[in-house]
Amino acid sequence: MSLDFTPLFDSWRFLLGGLGLTLGLSALTIVFSIVLGGALGLARCYGPAWLRWPLVFYIDSMRSIPVLVVLIWTYFALPVVTGVTLPPFWAATLALTAHISAYVAEIIRAGINSVRAGQERAAFALGMSRYRAIRDIILPQALVRMLPALGSILSITIKDTAIAAVIAVPEYMNRSQTVAGQSFHPIEVFIVAMIVYFAILFPVTRAVDMIYARYAYLGRS
């Protein structure tokens, strides 16, 4: 099997643009997911009872449906219902955020619950208000415990952006497919794609491991 990487040399700018979109889509999705997921998670823990069921339903539903399905539905079916057609990039952002924020919400909930009972009692015994107890005592500890899970969400998000290729978002995966199709050297193109994604994802997982190892003692009981 002889490999010919030259088509890649010709298309590197094209592919680089795709990479930029991968990173951009990942970053946007993460930020929105943390905000939305954080809100959902806090609402789940501290919100009014009537809100609980719809939240649980939403979160569990997003955990049950594949990302691909959410992406495709958002891009193709949502316009039919709402009359609004989102460009692929924003459809992907919306779909990925909707999906990943559910996981973030679950992580927040698990993190808060793992700290809660004894610490809450101690805080109230000191005369703290509910708001302060949550802000100063519960959340900081919960945050440390959530770090590894949140880190893996970062990794999952970057991987999920590759699925957005299916709805014509011109990120790296999509562009690789284009180059592969045009150059008739798919193997070389995808080998490079694997190297590129690995080069992005490996440091992310390592960094998360290291950060957690550094700060884990803060969250230990």
Binding site: M1, D60, S61, R63, S64, I65, P66, V67, L68, V69, V70, I72, W73, F76, A77, V80, V81, S155, I158, K159, D160, T161, A162, I163, A165, V166, M173, Q177, A180, P186, I187, F190, I191, A193, M194, Y197, F198, L201, F202, T205
Partner: protein
């Protein structure tokens, strides 16, 4: 805009075929990937440098790649690398198995490592060999301990099977989208696809929650 939801019922048999393929893919992959994960974990913990390095490399490699990329790459590489003809579904199973084995490898490694050293020592103190200690004392406990994680992995796998639709494997996603292309009933078919996945996935997610509650480790 008029919707024609009957298109779903009219093509129910195709959707059912797709569902069967989805389930088949998930089950087959797990059957391969659970022993695969155990083997990888044992290699990693074996103390033989080459095996440990090979296992660690394999696990890190597949955990840091998007599954969709692995599927595409497998589609192009497998026939060339092995000289054999691979059906799309075989390609799918290879890609999925490699991917999930890597995750299970890490799962089992962490599970085995979480068993107290004293348990192995008690086995050694009785004169047991390292092999016996691993297979009779440590692994049985480790498997029990990682059951909740394996259950979560199963649920993820079930959803990830949808990705094989990109190489034209006739799973639920592929069949749903094919009917959509043929009938132009976009909203109906895509919603049906989402709903069916939801009907399949929701109980599984709830089951995983229940398993997590029940098997919470009290150490």
């Amino acid at each position: 805009m008029s919707y024609d939801w009957s298109v779903v019922w009219r093509h129910a048999d195709l959707l059912w075929e797709g569902t069967k393929v989805t389930i088949f893919l998930a089950v087959t992959t797990m059957i391969i990937a659970v022993p695969g994960g155990i083997v990888l974990a044992l290699m990693r913990l074996s103390g033989i440098r080459i095996l440990a390095a090979a296992s660690a490399t394999f696990v890190e490699f597949f955990r840091n790649l998007p599954l969709i990329l692995v599927i595409y790459t497998a589609y192009y590489i497998l026939p060339v690398a092995t000289g054999l003809r691979f059906s799309p579904i075989a390609t799918a199973i290879v890609a999925l198995s490699l991917n999930v084995s890597a995750y299970n490898g890490e799962t089992f490694r962490a599970g085995i490592a979480s068993i107290r050293k004293g348990q192995s020592e008690a086995g050694y103190a009785l004169g047991m060999s390292r092999t016996r200690v691993m297979f009779e004392i440590v692994l049985p406990q480790a498997v029990r301990r990682v059951l909740p994680v394996l259950a979560s992995t199963w649920v993820s796998l079930f959803k990830d099977t949808s990705l094989v639709s990109v190489i034209s494997v006739g799973d639920l996603a592929f069949e749903s989208m094919r009917v959509r292309s043929q009938t132009f009933r976009v909203l109906e078919m895509l919603t049906a696809m989402a709903v069916i996945y939801w009907l399949l996935g929701y109980p599984q997610a709830k089951l995983v929650d229940w398993i997590n509650k029940r098997y919470r480790v009290n150490e």
